[in-house]
Amino acid sequence: MSDPSQPPHWKQDFPIRWDDDAYITRREFTKFLGLTSLAFLLGTLWAAASRWTKMTKARQFRPAQVAGVEEIPVGGYKLFRYPTPEDPCILLRLGPEKFVAFSQLCTHLVCPVHFQPSSRRLICPCHDGHFSAEDGRPLAGPPQRPLASWAVHLRDGKVWVQPLPEKA
């Protein structure tokens, strides 16, 4: 027999009182939708500002000499840092006159990629991501985006890199 002075069990299981229950009117909900819309707009604005900042920074990067032409054999590579000392990159020599440069950071989870000359692929050892050494596009594994690349120029027997021209 339960004690009448004690609250029933169902009240202990569902302790929310009607007075304390949050009641949201349709008007309040509509206002909340307005704020959600504003939040999406602000998020998009942040993305646009981020893109603009990156573009402005990229314009400031000057071409850099990263190696001598004879320094790297065909099928070889050289690691360098560009445009800042915190950005590891890899320069590949795919042919006598063909050099390509990519960021060394995998577009999956930013592990450094390594060049495998036999398959002409850049391979990320963390999750076995494969990228084409020709253009940096993802070929296998989890990465979905191509590696960031740099424009390469040969001048006076030296290899120079610089940002790719901005897309219109």
Binding site: L41, W52, R145, K167
Partner: protein
């Protein structure tokens, strides 16, 4: 059914349609935001795409606020 009740029912339908439209615009804005996030990842997309996305999102936001204003006004007069 009295004319007043009929009018109230019609207004209620309009309000529901407005609400559905607002939610549709919000979903479109969410999609635009995901596209904007995609564009800023390397290799970055064209800046004109970002501007177009921003413009569409601003128009969507303006439309949502106008519809909400209409909604609140109509509901109050209902």
């Amino acid at each position: 059914m009295s004319p007043q009740t009929r009018l109230r029912n019609r207004i209620s339908i309009v309000l529901n349609m407005v609400m559905a439209f607002v939610i549709m615009i919000l979903l479109a804005q969410l999609w635009l935001f995901t596209v904007a996030l995609e564009v800023i990842q390397p290799p970055e997309g064209s800046p004109s795409i970002v501007v177009a996305i921003l413009l569409c999102s601003a128009i969507g936001c303006g439309a949502v606020w106008a519809l909400i204003r209409f909604f609140l006004k109509t509901e109050k007069n209902q």
